[in-house]
């Protein structure tokens, strides 16, 4: 039972990191639906770098770096060129899926480097992800930078006349956002499940994306959501652990996605928004052009 709990916390860590990245970007008004693509890149290149150099540190750094670069690329499309953010994000996903499959194929198989030591029985990244949640919440609600980020996401024109450099803030957020996603990918492939094979991520990036909407853009609710989904995911891998013999594992594996769909549908109803208030950044996915 402890093993199950520990593994679900580790699964939730990856959701937390990736979704937190997405949340930071969205609070500044940039939607990146290509979370899965960025994670695939971070995971695959991090995996290869670690295996080639024999260093976990380099693996993680490469994952974070490539994530940051993809974030910048998404920023270039959506901020500088003012393009459609959904199109750019989908592009990143398709590109990521294709290219990482091609690059990673020769490396199919286990990492073969031993495991990263646990801290109190759980991966150290779990504790790091909690700290990042707290930090992000503090920055967003209590600091001048956070106020600027939120304002840029709500109403960039107002931020601009108040002396905030919208372009700079958005680039900052979208880059940090990509770095967190790339890091999440690297944590998956180097720590959670250090084996590379075809389509190893199986849509985790999309769950992370949905989690941001689920969280109503609040890092603390986001944490709760990822803990829940981490447990659901773990349950779907070994349903016999908790409820032996009830339903096939394939039905269980579908559960996180089915729940995501239901939750998102509920949240998009008028009733829900009226009840809980619309916390969605007003300028989300809208390009901003100076007057």
């Amino acid at each position: 039972m402890f093993e199950f709990l520990a593994r679900s916390l580790e699964a939730s860590t990856i959701f937390t990191l990736a979704a937190l990245g997405e949340l930071v970007g969205q609070r500044s008004g940039i939607l990146n639906v290509g979370v899965e693509g960025v994670m695939l890149f971070g995971a695959t290149l991090g995996f290869i770098a670690a295996q080639v150099t024999g260093s976990f540190l380099i693996g993680f750094l490469v994952g974070i770096l490539i994530g940051g670069l993809l974030g910048l690329l998404h920023g270039f499309f959506s901020i500088t060129l003012g393009g459609d953010q959904v199109v750019s994000g989908m592009g990143i996903w398709i590109f990521g899926f294709g290219l990482t499959t091609y690059i990673g194929n020769p490396f199919t198989g286990p990492l073969g480097m031993g495991r990263i030591p646990k801290l109190w029985g759980v991966s150290p990244f779990f504790y790091l992800s909690i700290m990042l949640i707290v930090l992000t919440r503090f920055v967003l609600t209590r600091t001048s930078l956070g106020l600027k980020i939120r304002s840029v996401g709500e109403n960039p024109a107002v931020a601009e006349v108040s002396g905030v450099n919208v372009t700079k803030i958005r680039y900052l957020c979208v880059t940090v956002s990509g770095m967190l996603m790339g890091f999440a990918g690297a944590v998956y492939s180097l720590d959670y499940n250090p084996v590379w094979n075809y389509n190893f991520l199986m849509g985790w990036g999309f769950i992370a994306l949905a989690l941001v909407f689920f969280s109503m853009w609040n890092p603390l609710i986001l944490l709760g959501g990822s803990l829940l989904f981490g447990a659901l995911w773990q349950l779907s891998l070994n349903p016999q652990l908790v409820l032996p013999g009830v339903l096939s594992r394939y039905v269980w594996r579908m559960a996180p996605f089915a729940i995501t769909v239901v939750v998102l549908m509920l949240m998009s109803t008028r009733w829900f928004r009226r009840r809980w208030g619309a916390a969605k950044p007003e300028a989300l996915a809208r390009p901003y052009a100076k007057e």
């Binding site: 209590r142 600091t143 001048s144 930078l145 106020l147 600027k148 939120r150 304002s151 709500e154 109403n155 024109a157 107002v158 931020a159 601009e160 006349v161 108040s162 002396g163 905030v164 009226r274 916390a279 007003e282 007057e291």
Partner: protein, 518 residues
Amino acid sequence: MQKGLLAGIKHGEAALETRGITKRFPGVLANDRIDFEMKAGEIHAILGENGAGKTTLMNILFGLYQPDEGEIYIGGKPVKLRSPLDAIDLGIGMVHQNRKLVSAHTVLENIILGHPNAGRILNLRRTAKEIEELCARYGFKLDLNAKVWQLSEGEKQVVEILKALYRGAKILILDEPTSALAPPETKKLLASIQAMARDDLAIVPFITHKLPVVLAISNRVTVLRGGRVTARLETAHATEKGLAKEMVGREVIFKIERAQVTRGKPILQVENLSALGNKGFLALKGVSFSVHEGEILGIAGVSGNGQYELAEVLAGLRKAAGGRVLLDENDITHAGSLARWRHGMGYVPSERVDVGSIGDFSLVENVTMNFYFDERYTRRGFIDYRNLGKLTEELIAEYNVAAPGPDTPACSLSGGNLQKIILARVLSRKPRLLIANLPTQGLDVGATEFVRNKLMAAKKAGAGILLISEDLDEILALSDRIAPIYEGEFMGLLAAEQTPRERVGAMMAGVRPEEPKP
């Protein structure tokens, strides 16, 4: 950029000066050698119609546009304003008419956004205290922790003023400062502005047509017309008539001939009607009234008090939350719009561009939208464009619409001309009941006169008209009866001719009449 040019400026010292400001846009000379100067402690109004170049000048002073020629001096020194940030750094504050505030954030967060002294980690307690001191000094009452979307237009304006003052503005540009305020609110604001002038701020209100405000508040006034300064005078020597003449270039008739029509039977009867606003709260809280043949019922109110929802419910664009609507004694409470048009209702929406027309469609197609269901212009389900083209041409001629022809896209028309075509297509159907929501908002004096005369003519022809307007003078000039609306309720139902202006003004601000009619 030299900061602090205005630090320690004293009463009567030169604050702001422009020399020969010229700005051209393709095909338009928006500002033509504008000279303007003002001192600390002065309130210097800039008056002009739409298209007189006010907005351009304002944007130049706030660093949004760069002038093609001419210089700007602040505190006697030449400066270049490359962006609003430059202007803010130099001590220029701007109070925008279309409020530049983040509506999901609190008042406090809006005021300190981008403020250099906000601190890396926000010190909300200290900043709140400083802002409260400003409020006390100038007589503003405001909950700093309220979210901006909860505020009235007047309160939002106060937030903008506080934001500029907290940023250390010494020159305050006010864009149409009283346009969204009820008369008592206006009075309060004017008192606050005068208190700021006593503290040696230089204040520049830009005003389109509220001449009494100009006379009440300013020390000097500069009038713009066609991008040029046509008059510059001490307010003490100015009269309303004289200013209007300088502004328009001809004598303006302020009175409109009120057609005397005997009131007929009721067309529209509304009983206890209520509706939700966009935020999901009850915006219209049970109003009852009727509109008769040959009558204009004026709904007077500051925007956001439920009149918009009322117009939409009557037009069938918004669900009624309760109550009944009878049109010629048919219950149409839940009828669709088309059924209402067929019953003889006409609708002039307040959003000319978004609801009143489709910009990419030609004028014929836009006119068609009111006729596609009319047997005279359809044949076995097909639209008779030839006839409609003829009709559109006639309407363009009759209403003096400045458009090359019926095939012009609607988006190429100016606001006034677009409004004329919208009004033309509705009135040509000879509606028995017309709902006109802000029919003259944003129009210049000429187009306003035209629209008002057309409404009066429709009334004379026997139509009942529900006129919704924020302009109290318009309501008083046109209506037979007046219903001031405040927070979704009627404050009363008055006969226009016996009601003094002040009384309607007070009721618009929520003051109920002392003696309710039995």
